[in-house]
Symmetry: C2
Subunit: 409 residues, 2 copies
């Protein structure tokens, strides 16, 4: 007898047939004696269809109106699932973001949740009714509809689970959990049974697409256990939860790779106070996100400064940095395009000092040159030539004992 | 400088191209110095698409959920039109039924408006913003979405015009006004410049599809002048308004015909008190709407009772009435299927006593037998054989001076 929040994404409710299957799962959980609250996305493709319609009407649609438009998608799915369950004799009722009391600020199309009241949801649960909630949407103080941006329905589910003090928030999606590495790159990757909020945050910021950082932050803040499960295959998923003692036995939980990196080096920079601000101030103003920065030890009065940027921003960055280099009397700008970042993530690093050393040793053994290094409490990232990224990931995955046991091995 | 409510139906907002044209019209009215409030329907076909989706999910969709589903259609169009106007630099903002304060009872899918607050609309107008309002929807006391049933968007427009004390409510539709008769039947039919609420009500109840009775009743109650105009052709429409002196000069405003009638006669009914209730009680309980009833003068202790029903209900009615006839010891039941009702409508009848006599004379001159007659203050209806319906309509239209002046005549 637990209180569960189920969240189903766009592909899980993409057709009437799939809505039937969602109803099966919800009915099963209810039949097992649990209280269930369901959060839904729009049918996959619907949000894109609506955005296309808006762009046909006008090139730059007003964001308040875009939210009125986009928030219709989830209203369709919640009504359909509620009907379906009622058609089976199961008491269910749909609720919009407003009716749930998802209060947000007024940043239309990317609003932040400020408060969740959930009064009507509590009432419905008390009456034995299954609430079917529209994800991705809330209202601002003026009672205008807002939407929460990418991953918004996950956020609705986690926030609602927090407000209801739910026992678990289960995110049903098209993957069956969080993996030790991308299985496309590392065939020996395996699904993690558990991962901590902090590790999940690092993995999300490194590009893992399973859960967005915002949802994980929310879950951590309100201590909501989040489980990622496949909506198509029955079985265990990955539980994202508070760090526990079990976890500390593992040094490394996952290996990630990000190939969309490029490196810029400003050569011969006069080494005087304030020079870093002169460089990175204008770069930040141009909305270019700088990831790692390295400044070589100065030789005499000159130094070299290297940093990485997303490859998509490279052209813009090169133009800008060349102008800056001139202004500060640096010698030249060097560009290395094909770079990748390989990272290890694990809360165990806190208590194991040898992780970085072992990582460098593994890469060196494979003949991979490390060009930049950055570390945090639970993450170590190395920038390497892109062509070595996959090799580096597989070697690290194996060396840190993450490979799945092979059948018969 | 007037306050106008514009209402555009589904075909008027059926494509992005047509939404552009709606924006043209709204911009023009604004440019002429008027304050404009716009009420929209869903894109034509959208409501049907959503209903199909619901029926795919379950055979008998819950009506509360159906309202959540159906109310999304208008939200799409209001957002699109608001974007379009803003894209042109015109200040516009969308409002849902809830935001307008369209309060209704809880009869989902056919809710009745109980109150219209319109606070946010008044604010918007005061700020010079054009409010774009979702028609067809409101909320009940629990703040659940309701829909107003067929013609609901017209009703929203009229009710809002009433609450705002608007100078005029213009219903843009695919016809350009109210005609003296159906032009498909009476080629000489012409558009009326004006028609009174009462005449419009009679015409609506006789099957004129331009405005539904509910909207006309609302308009009459709050004295809202309603104009029916074509959304495709610029030009004058028909003004539905309070009776004025001009109108009384015309005896008859329109001729209508309803071919979906059938007549039932119970022959040899024992003439005793309470017999009518024994017959029409069960008929009403079976949801069969009886239009006209005639009871012949009794001959001895037996009488004949005839009445008309919609042809669609005939089979059901015959079964039922044959059972009733047995119970009350009547002799037999006679059925005449192909009947039609021809009606004259006009407030002028109040002060002209000769209308009925002239109608009978015209029909007699054409050799048309009148089978039943019913009259009200501003309407006379005759039931005739269906094959004579069109002839009867044309003859009456001409005899009462309604024919359009022919060019060159």
């Amino acid at each position: 007898m637990a209180l569960l929040v189920h969240k189903y994404g766009g592909t899980s409710v993409g057709t009437v047939e799939r809505i039937h299957r969602v109803a099966d799962r919800v009915a099963k959980a209810k039949g097992e004696g649990h209280d269930v609250v369901v959060v839904l996305s729009a049918m996959s493709g619907e949000t894109d269809r609506l955005i296309r319609l808006a762009r046909e009407v006008t090139a730059h649609p007003d964001e308040r109106e875009l939210d009125v438009l986009l928030s219709t998608g989830e209203r369709v799915t919640i009504a359909l699932l509620a009907m379906e369950l009622q058609g089976r004799g199961i008491n269910a009722r749909s609720f919009t973001g407003r009716q749930v009391g998802i209060m947000t600020d007024s940043s239309h199309t990317k609003a932040r949740i400020t408060r969740v009241t959930a009064e009507r949801i509590k009432e419905a649960i008390a009456e034995g009714v299954i609430p079917i909630v529209a994800g991705f949407q809330g209202i601002n103080a003026r009672s205008d509809v807002t939407t929460l941006g990418r991953g918004g329905s996950d956020l609705t589910a986690v926030a609602l689970a927090g407000a209801l003090k739910a026992d678990r928030c289960i995110i049903f999606t098209d993957v069956d959990g969080v993996y030790t590495a991308d299985p496309n790159v590392v065939p020996a990757a395996r699904r993690l049974d558990r991962v901590s909020y902090e590790e999940m945050l690092e993995l999300a910021s490194l590009g893992a697409k399973v859960l967005q950082s915002r949802s994980v932050e929310f879950a951590a803040k309100f201590n909501v256990p989040v489980e990622v499960q496949s909506s198509f295959i029955e079985g265990k998923g990955t539980l994202v939860t508070r760090e526990d003692e079990d976890m500390e036995r593992v040094m490394v939980s996952g290996v990630s790779g990000d190939r969309h990196q490029a490196k810029l080096t400003i050569v011969g920079v006069p080494d005087r106070p304030g020079i870093a601000a002169k460089i990175f101030g204008p770069v930040a103003q141009a909305n270019i996100v700088v990831d790692m920065i390295i400044q070589n030890v100065s030789q005499g009065s000159l130094t070299d400064i290297s940093f990485t940027v997303p490859r998509a921003d490279l052209a813009k960055a090169v133009d800008l940095v060349q102008r800056i280099a001139k202004e500060i009397d640096a010698k030249s700008v060097a560009v290395t395009e094909a770079m990748a970042k390989v990272s290890l993530v694990g809360v165990g690093m806190r208590s194991h000092s040898g992780v970085a050393a072992k990582m460098f040793e593994v890469l060196s053994r494979e003949g991979i040159n490390i060009m930049m290094i950055s570390t945090s409490e639970i993450k170590i990232s190395c920038v390497v030539e892109e062509k070595y990224m996959e090799l580096a990931m597989r070697a690290l995955h194996s060396a840190f004992g993450l490979d799945a046991a092979r059948v018969g091995a």
